[in-house]
């Protein structure tokens, strides 16, 4: 009953009668919205003729690279032409277009915005399970619930949740157990590591005369100032935090093995030539000399263990950067003879 009354009331209204007589769609609601992705627009001036748009296009007849005719003044330019009869308005061509500004634009959604990059932070934090003592101080310090969790008696950082704040690294009592890895500039980091290791090796090579007298029990110590090293590292990548971090990781972990070569003792028995796994040791028949190529040498100690006359010497060196700063820091180098057994004894 109530619905009948409602209908009577509704039909009695003037607006209903008007709408009934002239039924028309409100033009506003059928208008094309701004977000609608229409056919792509081409700006031939920016085109570099790379063909990425044609490769990305899923429709066979939609896009073609055409070349305008050569004139007396300049060569013809190649540019894409969109065939509206084949285009499906997907916008892939605009998405892949590498020019800046874009040769092809199509709607809004091809603009990949900066804030949505996959790596929001420059450092990634991981836990070294070998050094971790499971004190769980990082777990307590972590401001994100579930970013650090325990699994199979291991403490693990969930990279999909981690916000790279670095609290775990600050609160870790063990040096090196939590590692902050710089995810960008990988090639520059490699260059800095190479530079540092080579510099340290050269510094030890210079002291060879002092080292070769070392007995099994003795330890040789000297300091290397890092001013020059820092300058050269900065010329590779001017990021002091990264350089200091790289230096510390190198000095904490590097165990540099040194092979010395005393030619006076050599009796040209050529045992080492056959044993060397990398072919670094060669025998020159003309000059009757055994040569060792330091670039090829793996520092594997095989020659040291093979030689019956003690030509090859084998030493191990460790490092420490103290205090840990680029300005005042000094690398302390400790060299001692290897404890490996020698063939002569």
């Amino acid at each position: 009953m109530s619905s009948v009354i409602w209908y009577l009331y509704e039909f009695a209204r003037k607006s209903w009668a008007e709408n009934f007589a002239v039924a028309k769609t409100n033009p506003e609601i059928v208008e094309t919205p701004e977000r609608f992705r229409d056919f792509p627009q081409v700006f031939p001036d920016y085109c570099i003729s790379c063909g990425a748009c044609t490769a990305a296009c899923p429709a066979p007849n939609a896009i073609k690279l055409v070349r305008s005719e050569d004139t007396a003044e300049e060569e013809g330019k190649a540019y894409p032409v969109i065939n509206n009869r084949g285009c499906i308005r997907c916008g892939f061509c605009a998405e892949v277009c590498p020019t800046d500004p874009k040769t092809i634009t199509c709607g809004e959604n091809h603009l990949i915005r900066e804030e949505f990059t996959i790596l929001p932070a420059d450092r990634m934090f991981i836990i070294d399970d070998y050094l971790c003592i499971r004190c769980k101080k990082c777990m307590k310090a972590c401001p994100v619930y579930g970013a650090i969790y325990e699994e199979d008696n291991k403490i693990v950082i969930d990279q999909s949740v981690c916000i790279s704040c670095g609290e775990c690294l600050k609160n870790c009592p063990v040096k090196g157990a939590v590692k902050g890895i710089y995810v960008a500039n990988v090639q520059e980091q490699k260059d800095i590591i190479n530079l540092t290791v080579n510099t340290l090796e050269e510094a030890i090579e210079e002291k060879r005369d002092d080292i070769s007298h070392l007995s099994d029990k003795e330890v040789y110590k000297f300091d290397l100032p890092i001013d020059e090293l820092v300058e050269r590292a900065r010329s590779i990548l001017a990021n002091d935090d990264l350089i200091l971090d790289t230096f510390q990781k190198i000095t904490d972990r590097l165990k540099l093995r040194i092979v010395t070569w005393d030619e006076d003792k050599c009796k040209k028995c050529r045992l080492c030539v056959d044993e060397c796994p990398s072919g670094a040791i060669t025998y020159d028949e003309k000059e009757d000399v055994i040569k060792r190529d330091t670039k090829k040498c793996l520092r594997c100690s095989t020659c040291y263990q093979t030689c019956p006359f003690g030509v090859a010497g084998y030493y191990v060196s460790r490092f420490l950067l103290d205090p840990p700063s680029l300005e005042e820091g000094v690398i302390h180098i400790t060299v001692k003879a290897s404890q490996l057994p020698i063939g002569a004894d």
Binding site: A23, K24, T25, I29, V30, E31, T32, F36, P58, A59, P60, N61, N83, N84, R85, G86, C87, I88, R89
Partner: protein
């Protein structure tokens, strides 16, 4: 006098037959959107029948597959004069994404039957379809009706 009366009647009441000759069905869904209250096709006096014998306008979608080559011409022959053919979407024009190497599609539709209007897009917006039907439909039907067969 009779022609004038026929014109008025034909213009105000257009019957449409929708034919999918082997497409992805996206354009057909856009036509269904046209029928919905938002666009409300019937307010313009356009009615959708899926019967070519009653149709004034044939709306063709899809990229003419092997089986449709003959049947498309049969359907066209069954529609009474005057008739108008409107193709919707890119498939009847170029075959679109189906026209890959080795695919058995025989686009364009104009190889088989005469086409009066084309609506590009994949799929076109309902308002584009509506505008095309309204632009071509009434006058073309009226004009064709006056031609002597």
């Amino acid at each position: 006098m009779l022609d004038g009366l026929k014109d008025v009647v034909r213009k105000s009441s257009i019957h449409v037959c929708l034919i999918n000759t082997g497409g992805c069905n996206g354009c057909d869904i856009e036509v269904v959107a046209l029928l919905s209250p938002r666009y409300d096709l019937e307010q313009y006096g356009i009615y959708v029948h899926n019967n070519p014998r009653e149709a004034d306008v044939l709306l063709i979608t899809g990229a003419v597959t092997e089986q449709w080559k003959k049947n498309l011409q049969r359907i066209y022959a069954k529609a009474p004069e005057p008739k108008v053919v409107v193709t919707i979407g890119n498939c009847p024009l170029t075959g679109d994404v189906f026209n890959q190497e080795g695919c058995s599609v025989y686009a364009p539709v104009s190889d088989f039957i005469p086409v009066d209007a084309e609506i590009p897009g994949c799929p076109p917006r309902p308002s584009e379809i509506l505008a095309a039907i309204l632009a071509v439909g009434p006058d073309a039907i009226a004009a064709k009706g006056r031609q002597k067969p």
